[in-house]
């Protein structure tokens, strides 16, 4: 188990020392600040717009991190051949995959905490008060990106970073549309299409369970079920993906 943490903290260190992270952080800060631009034309709705913006941007940002950095992590090990010195050491594939996954997840946690802190400061500065209810979004995002992290790790097992990145994006957006897909199944009577839609609905992870953006901005209560669902769905699905990934890795060879 300590090997997993060793690989995880190494992965985190690698990402932090990678310059991409710094540029993304600066970009994130600028984007949150940019929501101020919309205040004068918001027709009295600046509170809502700033909150929607903040909450939405943090999600998009974390998405970018997973897509840009997460899909490269495994590929880099192979491309730079640093993996030679890992495979030949007493590390199981599962430990390796878990370690990489966890390293990226540490990064996501750090980014989320930083962005939410910036967001809270902005709220205080522009709106005068802090809406602590918005922090519920943090809980759901932590589990949403746990799952997406596993998806990225899984996809980068068998494709190049660019393809894995595009696929991860697709999985995320189609996953958000799950409830639309369900309606689509009812609407389309056509057999071929409904089979495809059904397939997409059941196989692809359902990211709409993590979507509480409307709730947190409008202060709708979130059911205890939702918290529990986010927690268990993400961990279960992620575990399955990671186990499959480690199996795929055990088949790999390194010439």
């Amino acid at each position: 188990m300590s090997r997993v943490f060793a690989i995880a903290s190494n992965t985190l260190r690698e990402s932090i020392r990678d310059k991409i992270l710094l540029s993304l952080a600066v970009l994130g800060f600028l984007l949150i600040a940019a929501s101020k631009v919309f205040v004068p034309i918001s027709i009295g709705q600046q509170a809502k717009i700033i909150k929607d913006f903040g909450v939405g941007l943090i999600e998009i940002f974390s998405l970018l991190i997973v897509v840009l950095i997460g899909t490269r992590i495994l590929y880099q090990e192979i491309e730079r051949k640093t993996i030679y010195s890992i495979i030949s050491k007493p590390v199981t594939e599962l430990e390796f995959v878990l370690g990489k996954f966890l390293g990226l997840y540490y990064l996501i946690i750090v980014i989320q905490l930083i962005l939410f802190s910036i967001f809270i400061l902005f709220m205080k500065f522009y709106l005068g008060t802090i809406d602590w209810f918005l922090l519920n979004a943090l809980y759901f995002y932590l589990f949403e990106f746990l799952l997406l992290d596993a998806v990225a790790v899984f996809l980068s097992c068998f494709t190049t970073p660019i393809t894995a990145g595009i696929l991860t994006l697709l999985v995320f957006f189609v996953g958000q549309l799950s409830h639309y897909l369900k309606d689509l199944v009812v609407v389309t009577g056509v057999s071929g299409l409904s089979v495809l839609v059904n397939f997409l609905y059941f196989v692809l992870p359902n990211f709409s369970v993590f979507n509480v953006k409307a709730n947190v901005v409008y202060h709708f209560p979130i059911s205890v079920n939702s918290y529990f669902l986010a927690f268990s769905y993400s961990i279960l699905y992620a575990l399955i993906l990671l186990i499959i990934s480690s199996l795929l890795y055990s088949l790999k060879e390194y010439q």
């Binding site: 020392r17 990678d18 640093t82 030679y84 010195s85 007493p90 590390v91 390194y254 010439q255």
Partner: protein, 300 residues
């Protein structure tokens, strides 16, 4: 105990898109005994790296068997060995010290900074321990590569071209190190192109050609097996034509060189030269060099 026992190992490289396959190993047989330094020789593409990668679990064989340490599982085997790949690359974002600390944790160890500093001192990297790997020269990479193989205190070291990229001083140090760890009881298997290095440190040598082990033997035996010819250097003999029947004759100023192939006749010829008034300067038996042996094996 046989640390490594390989029987009939086969490895086929097949690209999924192209129909042609290339055979990496074609029924390799090899054994490495505990405590020896075994040198693996062979031309490019013969299968040296392939064999080493199969031993270290980087490649999977298509046929045959590899038994390590008498038959332990993969995890146990990897605990007891250290691997240095050819042209090694390590995590560029880590410093030398951080790299060793990381690898130590993979072996389940947690050495102190001081302990690792000692190890780094041995290869002369103590001063660069806090520099990022991205700033290491090839020689430094090779040296820290050797240290990371020793991190887990393994019983077996597998080294792929460990001397490549080192300057003469570095090479000597590396050879000394290999000898040193061997004396501490570690078995060493390494591959190399540089025959003189192999000659210098190995106990046994194996020559791989086209994916098969062509010849294996103790260095001493291979080199002793034949004295090809004897070179006699002498002077002050006027008449030399009679010597032509014994071998090749060459005159260089006052000195005459005779290369006789039939070594049995050495004593007779020497006696005769002396009797006729010649002065013997030197008698040098030319053993077959490893290089010649090697090239001969290739052509068999």
């Amino acid at each position: 105990m046989k640390v490594i026992e390989i029987k009939n190992l086969v490895k086929i490289y097949a690209s999924p898109f192209m129909r042609k396959k290339s055979i990496g190993l074609n029924g390799l047989n090899m054994e490495v005994e505990e405590g020896e330094i075994f040198g693996l020789l062979g031309p490019n593409g013969a299968g040296k790296t392939t064999a080493l990668k199969i031993i270290t679990y980087l490649l999977k064989p298509n046929g045959g068997s590899v038994t390590l340490f008498g038959g332990v599982g993969s995890l146990e085997a990897r605990k007891r060995m250290g691997f240095l790949p050819e042209n090694p690359t390590f995590y560029r974002h880590l410093t030398g010290m951080e790299l060793l600390q990381f690898y130590s944790r993979l072996y389940g160890r947690n050495p102190t900074r001081k302990e690792l500093e000692e190890k780094l001192k041995v290869v002369g990297l103590k001063d660069s321990q806090d520099r990022r790997i991205s700033g290491y020269s090839k020689g430094m990479l090779q040296r820290i590569g050797l240290i990371q193989t020793l991190i887990g205190d393994p019983d077996l070291l597998v080294l792929d071209e460990p001397l490549s990229g080192l300057d003469p001083v570095g090479r000597r140090e590396m050879k000394d190190l290999i000898r040193k760890v061997n004396m501490e009881g570690k078995t060493v298997l390494f591959s190399s192109h540089i025959l003189s290095d192999v000659e210098a440190i190995c106990n046994r040598v194996g020559i791989i050609v086209d994916g098969m082990m062509k010849k294996v033997g103790y260095i001493g035996e291979i080199l002793k097996s034949e004295i090809r010819y004897i070179d006699i250097e002498f002077e002050a003999l006027k008449e030399t034509d009679w010597l032509k029947e014994y071998g090749n004759l060459k005159k260089e100023g006052k000195v005459i060189y005779l290369r006789i192939k039939d070594t049995e006749k050495k004593d007779k010829v020497l006696k005769e030269i002396s009797r006729r008034g010649g002065k013997i300067i030197s008698v040098v038996p030319q053993r077959q060099s490893l290089e010649e042996h090697f090239i001969r094996t290739l052509n068999e």
